[in-house]
Subunit: 437 residues, 2 copies
């Protein structure tokens, strides 16, 4: 029976979860995986305060005790961040140890180098836990859809942002209130910018996009826009259009092989499958040439779900042939990025209550070939909300128009723009007509 | 580089899809899987009529040419049915060849023997394609959730039944009309009983249940009820209750370790994740102790999706260590089945328009401790529709009551019963409040 001798770096909440699952499910794991999972040593700077979970397992505050232990053949890295995780993972791989990590930041930044290093040493680096916790999105992208050309995927990869937008829309909260509730529930970081600014999702998208399109990881190629600008009234206006707002991460390959990786909020038709993904849930909806569209939804974070993903990677490693590296990525080429984008846009202008405002705005939009699909003007005190939905328009052209519109005397605040999700993936699910109305 | 020398049994629509994908994606498959997929020989009784897809690949109408070929190390079985597929698969495994099959009937009936045989010969039998086509539900059950205790899963495993119920509810069709449309679209068999009677889903549930709960496969243990009794008016009555009907396959393990495997239509709250799975789509929603609830949805049938699942199994086999059998099931014990069930029930009675009917029915229900939660009586010509929703009631007791009710003079037709989905898995998704109303 194969034996995994495991060293664990980092005894935070996820690390604890891993230790607990290894203890609780020892018999079942051994039987199901046909391997023995042996936790040899734990590294944590303050392990002494966390003794309760360790039992007989030796622990140390000196990482060398773990990384230099020749008995250890798999290292689980749950420290997070770049420093010192990067150095530790490198050292582990260089020493011929396989690595399991939940560290999306590390992979987004240094993944190409670490994957090449693992390949060279003929060991594995596995990272199911880095994206959407226990949802097997990495594995599915790599393995189940290997016979497919992946044309695109649309995902919700940041639970905090999805929670905030769900509460705003369903509980009539404003942004600040929903963000405070997310923090209270423990979803959001103390500094929520990483979540709501889209950067967390961007790291995950960089990794998943590389898997889907067989390129190297290019974190800097991801175009990122956050959800901070969205207000409760946008939820109302959007609901009146039969739509909802979701924080999307979108990867596409166009007909010329060019790739786009984009994180931004978007308007979805309420019958879109991703529109039914609420609160802190994550989801990945892939559109594959042979398999067709598929969507996987569930918890994208949390101690136990993330720990379960780590364990599933251990099981995966235990099933690998000796000396057979798990080449998660075969693509060494950076992605060729698509540079020009067109969308339908939802625009909200806060304007003065005077004649001619709409004409001025319409003219500036028309000058950039942004054709108007619908207009709603709501009665009330100044500033008046003016909602414009455009037909497909080039993004750069629209932003030029918005800049000029901002300079109008009658426009009292920076315009708000939200993209509308392209309707093609909706068309793939178009049989899903609903009797809700 | 590892080489899979493949023999293909059966060149129907899925077989064609496999040959085509192997041709179309040869380069990408080799690169992504790090293995060579070499189609050595095809068996099909009427291969000469299907030459167009074969190119240079040798074919034969004599199965011995394939099964006795020592070069072939993987056999794909796409003949379907029990005879002769059972014999061919046995012979392949006995000859030390791994097998990939899409044959749920074969696995449900002979899976335990075939899995034991594969284990004994240290080869693999893989069957992702047997359930929900390219949706990786088998793989996820076995591998991704290996670190979890699976408490239950609720699935939609028969696309035809789901299509029929969706059309009845969303397009105001009656049963016969929707069933005819399913046939026209090519979903349903000429004899649709296998689909709409629940037997197709039962075979899949027997296999998935064994994987989830680590028991042997027990097809006969599945309790099966079809959707044929449902009428369009049920859809209307149910919609008025904010519910929809879906063809469920439910696997549960209770607190005493007893298992239930049941296929039946059920009323779901319209915000239940499975309520949003429409038409021919399949879905599996698992409730796992560590990972939490997760749902995967997509196409559950079709030539290309099923072929893609076959290819993913080839890739899976290519990544296995030599001599390391893929033990899909470690459980040799038959499941200990739960014998007693309670549900809330939706009941529809067609009754005469005369005083005292409701009292008679209520009395017979009360005699079996079936307490009534709500009653709706609709005005109109005889027979009058009387809708009763019960509180939780033991199933056997309810059926005794229904039998007596059927004998009442004032009851003009056999009563219709539909179970209501237990609310616990709904509670797991309870944050998913929706602003639809």
């Amino acid at each position: 029976m194969k034996q995994l001798n495991i060293g664990l770096l980092g005894l935070g909440t996820v690390g604890r979860g891993v230790v607990e699952i290894l203890q609780e499910r020892r018999t079942s794991l051994n039987a199901r995986a046909g391997a023995r999972f042996n936790l040899v040593r734990v590294f944590d700077r303050s392990w002494e305060k966390k003794r309760d979970v360790l039992g007989e397992t030796p622990a140390s505050a000196n990482v060398d005790d773990l990384l230099n232990d020749p008995e250890i053949n798999v290292v689980i890295e749950l420290i997070g961040g770049l420093d010192p995780a990067y150095e530790y993972v490198r050292r582990a791989l260089q020493a011929g140890k396989s690595v399991v990590t939940a560290n999306k930041a590390l992979l987004a930044r240094h993944g190409n180098e670490l994957l090449a290093l693992a390949r060279g040493r003929r060991v594995t680096i596995a990272f199911e836990a880095a994206i959407a916790a226990a949802l097997p999105v990495v594995r599915n992208m790599r393995r189940s859809f290997v016979s497919d050309e992946i044309r695109s995927f649309h995902a919700i990869l940041n639970g905090t942002s999805n929670f905030i937008l769900s509460r705003m829309s369903e509980d009539d909260m404003d942004y600040a209130e929903a963000a405070a509730l997310a923090q209270e529930r423990g979803f959001a970081e103390a500094d929520p910018t990483f979540d709501v600014g889209g950067f967390d999702a961007a790291q995950k998208l960089a990794i998943l996009g590389a898997l889907a399109f067989d390129t190297s990881i290019a974190e800097s190629a991801v175009v990122v826009e956050g959800i901070e600008k969205i207000r409760h009234k946008d939820m109302r206006f959007v609901a009146a259009m039969g739509r909802v707002i979701r924080p999307l991460a979108v990867a596409r390959r166009n007909a010329y092989g060019r790739i786009s990786l984009r994180v931004h909020p978007a308007l979805l038709a309420s019958e879109d499958p991703l529109a039914t993904v609420h609160d802190e849930k994550n989801a990945v909806m892939s559109d594959c040439s042979n398999s067709g569209p598929a969507i996987i939804t569930g918890l994208g974070a949390g101690s136990r779900p993330t720990a379960a993903a780590v364990i599933s990677d251990l099981v995966f490693i235990s099933g690998r042939a000796e000396g057979d590296p798990q080449i998660w990525l075969s693509g060494d080429e950076p992605p060729q990025m698509q540079q020009s984008f067109a969308y339908r846009f939802y625009l909200r202008f806060e304007v003065a209550d005077r004649p001619g405002v709409l004409a001025e705005i319409a003219e500036l939009l028309a000058a950039e070939k942004a054709s108007i699909a619908s207009v709603q003007q709501y009665e009330g005190a100044e500033p008046i909300d003016l909602i414009v939905v455009t037909h497909n328009v080039n993004e750069a052209a629209l932003f030029r128009a918005l800049q000029k519109i901002r300079e109008l005397d009658s426009v009292l605040a920076p315009p708000i723009w939200i993209r509308m999700k392209e309707d093609d993936s909706r068309a793939e699910f178009s049989e899903q007509k609903s009797n809700r109305s």
